[in-house]
């Protein structure tokens, strides 16, 4: 597992991973979309708007996961003084931002038929929008600070502070009374969701994750190359 | 008093100067020469402990400067290549601020005296931003007197000055050196002072 913290190893391992990832992304995306759009049943309450879920939920998970990854790598970068952590941070931030945006937009689109408005200021929605702001600021930091050392440290510290937001997002539905759906799958007990919906959800999740990983790998590789040149 | 051994500086990965040795003590003047971009300003800033040399050590009174920084800074005046007076205030207000900030014990009479030597006495209630370039520079050099320190570090002190003012500054340097002060400065012009050591920086 050394490749997770070492630039050279990462470069080598990622070369092996790229092709399978491309395959998985395409295959699962096609299968997932087929399931999501045609094969899965309509919800008895929500009608076909339930299909938004297959976009919404995976992208929400990836948005959270990406920030978690950045938090871990910030610790690696700051505490263990491994610059590879900062490389990952820089490469991964825009991906997280985009999936957060997808999550928010799909959620809003879902919210209009379900709740009657595009947006409410409930805890989940608010905390996710703050997550988005954090992503944006991290990108801005990466774009506008010239001194590499400073840039890396500032963004890593910012990520660490921002990670306080993650549990708030995750547990907001339990802590406060919100309009938003509480977690269904992550419960340890039996999932409160129909298996016919779970299958496409899982397939789409795998597809999304592999797409995100693919982009991340490509961005990390370019970052490694440009650094070596400088 | 000041001893720099083999200092080398890199900025943004570029080597600016290499293996410079400086030794400065009572009554000595060093002039730094070199082409534009050869690193004169950077060398002065390195001596001032503002930039960190990538290798080499700098001593003040036998101790490394950053270990002796209070005493070091208590004994030096730095006149940068730009003016630091507050442009929206008058000369008088600036002098007042300087006297306070530097805890100076130079009296107003002395200062007025020097101002009249520098031909600035008529402008006392004028704002800095209405002075001419050379007048601003002369006013900045007044800090040498107000701070009243032993070690002077100056970056291009003669730019924009007319011939007479240059003479006055040179005389001030000589007086200072005769009082056991010591000076390092950079300049493109050759000053008319005897017994100065020259350090020439070559653009690499």
């Amino acid at each position: 597992m050394r490749f997770l913290i070492n630039a050279k190893r990462f470069d080598a391992v990622s070369d092996i991973l790229i092709k399978p990832l491309i395959f998985i992304s395409i295959a699962f995306l096609i299968i997932g979309l087929l399931f999501a759009l045609y094969l899965s049943p309509e919800d008895y309450q929500q009608g076909s708007t339930v299909r938004i879920m297959y976009i919404h939920v995976p992208s929400a998970w990836i948005a959270l996961m990406t920030f978690l990854v950045m938090t871990v790598y910030s610790i690696i970068g700051l505490a263990f003084r491994m610059p590879f952590g900062f490389i990952i941070n820089k490469a991964v931030a825009p991906i997280g931002a985009i999936f957060t945006l997808i999550c928010i937009v799909s959620g809003s689109l879902w919210g209009k038929p379900m709740w009657g408005t595009w947006w409410v200021w409930d805890a989940r929605l608010t905390s996710v929008s703050i997550l988005f702001v954090f992503y944006l600021i991290i990108i801005f930091i990466n774009k506008s600070f010239e001194n590499n050392l400073v840039r890396e440290k500032i963004s890593a510290i910012f990520i660490l502070i921002g990670s306080v937001n993650l549990p708030i997002i995750k547990f907001s539905v339990d802590w406060w009374n919100t309009l938003h759906q509480p977690a269904t799958i992550s419960k340890l007990s039996k999932p409160s969701i129909d298996p016919s919906m779970i299958t496409p959800l899982i397939i789409m999740t795998i597809a999304f994750i592999s797409i995100a990983a693919l982009i991340a790998i490509l961005r990390v590789k370019t970052e490694i190359i440009t650094r070596e040149n400088i | 008093m000041l001893l720099a051994q083999n200092i080398t500086l890199h900025r943004s990965g570029k080597e600016i100067f290499k293996d410079i040795n400086i030794s400065l003590g009572d009554g000595k003047i060093i002039i730094l020469k070199g082409k534009n971009g050869s690193g004169k300003t950077s060398l002065l800033k390195t001596i001032l402990n503002i930039l960190e040399p990538s290798s080499g050590l700098i001593y003040w009174k036998g101790k490394l400067i950053y270990k002796n920084i209070n005493d070091y800074y208590n004994n030096l005046t730095y006149i940068a290549d730009k003016t630091t007076s507050l442009r929206q205030l008058t000369l008088y207000e600036n002098i007042k601020i300087w006297r306070k900030i530097f805890l100076s014990n130079v009296s107003y009479d002395q200062i007025k005296n020097i101002l009249s030597i520098l031909k600035l006495d008529n402008y006392l209630n004028q704002k800095i931003n209405t002075l001419s370039l050379g007048e601003t520079k002369k006013f900045e050099l007044l800090r040498l007197i107000i701070e009243n320190k032993k070690f002077w570090v100056l970056d291009e002190p003669f730019t924009n000055l007319d011939f007479e003012s240059i003479k006055i500054i040179e005389q001030t340097f000589l007086d200072h050196v005769n009082n056991n002060g010591f000076i390092i400065f950079s300049s493109h012009q050759k000053p008319d002072i005897k017994n100065v050591e020259e350090i020439i920086l070559d653009k690499l």
Binding site: - | T84, R87, Q88, I101
Partner: protein
């Protein structure tokens, strides 16, 4: 003794420098009141709504106007080289940032603080609430000054995107505003909330000199 004298003299300088910006401050305050009028205008003059929303509105306006004045924090002294001169005269970067933070609090936040009583009258905020508001504002605005110091010293390293510092301060002030407004409106746990605020203040006040000092040093090296 000498140290204290130095600090007093530093504030003499700050006073001289900032006084020419007094009209700026006045303008800011006037705009602050205009903004209050806008709200009264758009909410309508019903007393209940006004006093309900008043505290929140006041806090936000204070926050925004003080954040937007952050640009001047170190910029001028940095650009004209005064920062180096001060540093070479025995003001370490850490000391400078402490002094500057206090000076920002004094010259920028203090005028706003003074206008709270008047604003409270306009927005029909009760005397008690006003007292709470005042207290929370003193602490909160000091936190803001510290945050401002950190972010604007960071911004010296970043010569392109000048708003980034303000954006960072705003993000960090979200919890402050939640606490402060909560403080005043939910009166049960006033003490515990104000303790949290004070705790925050102490933490950030302790971090500020190191963070700002390091950034100032780097900024000067890169210039």
């Amino acid at each position: 003794m000498k140290f204290i004298k130095k600090i007093i003299n530093f504030y003499f300088r700050e006073y001289k420098v900032n006084l020419s910006g007094i009209f700026d401050i006045l303008t800011n305050i006037t705009f602050f009141f205009i903004s209050i009028f806008i709200f009264i205008f758009s909410v309508g003059p019903e007393k209940e709504t006004l006093s309900l929303l008043g505290v929140g509105i006041l806090w936000t306006l204070l926050l925004l106007s003080s954040t937007l004045s952050l640009r001047k924090f170190y910029q001028d002294d940095f650009e004209n080289g005064s920062l180096i001169v001060l540093h070479l005269n025995g003001f370490s970067f850490e000391l400078i940032s402490i002094l500057k933070t206090i000076s920002h609090f004094f010259f920028v936040q203090f005028p706003f603080m003074m206008s709270i009583p008047f604003a409270s009258v306009l927005l029909d905020i009760s005397l008690e609430k006003m007292y709470d508001l005042f207290l929370s504002f003193v602490i909160g605005s000091f936190i803001l000054s510290c945050l401002g110091s950190i972010s604007s010293s960071m911004n010296l390293l970043n010569k392109r995107n000048y708003l980034l510092g303000s954006v960072m301060v705003l993000v960090f002030s979200i919890p402050i505003i939640i606490f402060s407004v909560g403080l005043i409106n939910i009166e049960d746990n006033f003490n515990s909330l104000i303790n949290i605020l004070i705790g925050l203040l102490l933490i950030i006040f302790a971090i500020n000199p190191w963070a700002s000092g390091a950034c100032l040093k780097l900024a000067i090296q890169n210039n």
